[in-house]
Symmetry: C2
Subunit: 365 residues, 2 copies
């Protein structure tokens, strides 16, 4: 993976004290912004990204050259309207697109690699709050996030309740289930089984654990799609052939697609970052952080919440969103909740779902 | 994986002509039997095994030392009553417990490895029919199989309809879905990414692709369990510790369990066999073999069928069994169908589900 300078970056004024008890010094947060910040700084929306997401929310990705991951929803006249709002998207710590992570250079001049501290979702949000502090933004118009981005939105709402007026959580959860952890552990084991991983010290070796990372990505990718979606998209269709090869090439389109997803991913993502971020997600349990009762996390919150789930999402199914909604109700918070029908599984939050556009636009008004 | 001599083995009288067009010579089928064959040979039941199963149906596994995989259902007085029936269970070709597979020695004196022909479910059944021929058993009282075993039962019923009076298909499917293929492809890629795989030529190297095979097994294992089952069994419980380690050890019980499942599996299974058998399953599409219409597969069948699914099985969900039942109805076959409630996901067919015991026993009467 290429090293990359983000177009904008801020070094946090203070060291980050992490949930592990460790302290991270000289933390850099790479970010992108869209639209103009109002003079009273009242129109900022922070969009938080998913596991393998990044700050290139509505602008071209510097490695892949692809459009921003939410360009369909962020821009002038779009559901998150950059002619009205100042939209910020920052790479989380632990990642690899310019924010401090395992590939960053430690104070001793060598990459952190596995010396990087294990971080939590709350630690990621600490970094984002540091960025907002640096930008002088005391209160967000909204925080908006899907998947792991939703975890960050919930964590901000729970731990820095004064920092956001609106909290929009899409296709997310307040805790990782055993099955969620299992899929992540599978991915981590695939990476660690790759001899190029070398206990994480591969940055100077000229070879990175791409094979293991590709397998991890393939596993995760299956969980992002619905069974019906896979069947509709690929079924048992063959790839570039009329009959089975009776060999081990990618006979089926779905095989070819997965291989492409796996190998393409290694160009833009660092394997150690994948380890750290999946670990943070697995550790996420917002109730546990708040005395074992999720409603406690939101006690006294003045924010308005909106939870969105998708009926075909089996990674973070609707029941997980409903669980959060019940806790918000118990805490007396203002919350709306909708389960949208979309065929794409967990990935629906990234894809063309007009009903989601309407929910996002409406909630931000 | 240790090389192993099965307690009983039969070399097929004729070469096997495979679906690929290739011919396999000197095919050995390793098998176990339980109970006594009646003088008129009318009481034989063939139990077909799943992907990583074997012939040790109701007797100790020679490598693991564990009880047979269906001992709870096969034995004197049990649902498959060995005091009444002569029960046969054979290792499928392509596997590694004594039947001819990629680890077997080819005519040139070297292991087949990836020179072994790609086989299909129907090819596996060809091997089993050859075994029955060798034993002089023209007509089975029943064929019984779960998961891939059910595919073999369906294939026998479709292609050798005169060979079984009763066909019991548990937690199975008539075709692999895109999602099924995706999970298998993930496993194959994990094996092939392991440098010890060496394009399959690892038998003489002293090192086998255990790391890749363990990852493949972990991926498959997740699909065998239900989300609720995982949550009930493990939840977010920590393993041998009171607090998170903030490291990459197996903090959670589910991680420890998966690692154990993965590493234990490599002791008893050959990675190339895993490639070949998953490929056979992915190729399985019984309708495609019969002009694109599943009912054609069962036209004129005189057998009685019973299909069983489990409500928590998301690998081969109830809809797949129902699909087969509809085809059997369209073909005018005698069929009963039941969806059983059990919390264990796909693995329910192997576990303590008393309702399944009753269905098996009743159907065999």
């Amino acid at each position: 993976m290429a090293t990359l300078s983000a177009s904008k970056a801020l070094t946090l004024a203070a060291p980050l004290s992490l949930d592990s008890g460790q302290v991270l010094e000289d933390v850099q947060i790479a970010y992108e912004t869209y639209g103009e910040l109002a003079a009273d700084k009242s129109n900022a929306i922070l969009v938080t990204h998913a596991l393998t997401g990044d700050q290139y929310l509505a602008s071209k990705h510097p490695i892949t050259g692809k459009p921003g991951w939410w360009e369909r929803r962020v821009g002038s006249g779009k559901p998150i309207d950059t002619s009205r709002y100042f939209v910020i998207c920052a790479n989380v710590i632990g990642s690899c697109l310019g924010s401090t992570g395992p590939a960053s250079i430690a104070p001793d001049g060598q990459p952190y690699a596995m010396r990087f501290p294990v971080i939590t979702i709350r630690d990621m949000v600490r970094g984002l709050v540091g960025l907002l502090d640096g930008m002088g933004i005391e209160r967000l118009h909204a925080i908006v996030g899907g998947s792991m981005g939703g975890m960050q939105a919930l964590s901000l709402a729970a731990n820095w309740p004064e920092r956001a007026e609106r909290v929009l959580v899409i296709a997310s959860t307040s805790r990782h289930s055993a099955q969620n952890i299992a899929f992540h552990e599978l991915g981590r084991q695939a990476i660690m089984a790759d001899p190029n991983w070398q206990d994480g010290d591969y940055y100077a070796s000229g070879a990175s654990p791409d094979a293991g990372l590709a397998v991890a990505r393939m596993a995760a990718h299956i969980t992002y799609l619905s069974e019906d979606g896979l069947t509709d998209k690929f079924g048992r269709n063959l790839q570039d052939r009329d009959t089975k090869s009776f060999g081990f090439d990618a006979d089926f389109q779905v095989e070819s697609y997965l291989r492409y997803q796996g190998s393409g991913f290694t160009r833009r993502f660092d394997a150690n970052s994948y380890l750290y971020i999946t670990r943070a997600m697995d550790y996420f349990d917002l109730a546990e952080e708040h005395g074992g009762r999720l409603a406690n996390a939101f006690a006294g919150s003045q924010a308005r919440f909106c939870l969105v789930s998708f009926d075909s999402d089996w990674l973070y199914p609707t029941a997980e969103s409903r669980h959060v909604v019940h806790a918000l109700n118990a805490a007396g918070a203002a919350v709306s909740f909708v389960e949208l029908s979309a065929p794409y599984g967990h990935d629906s939050f990234l894809l063309d779902v007009p009903a989601l556009d309407r929910v996002v636009k409406g909630f931000l008004e």
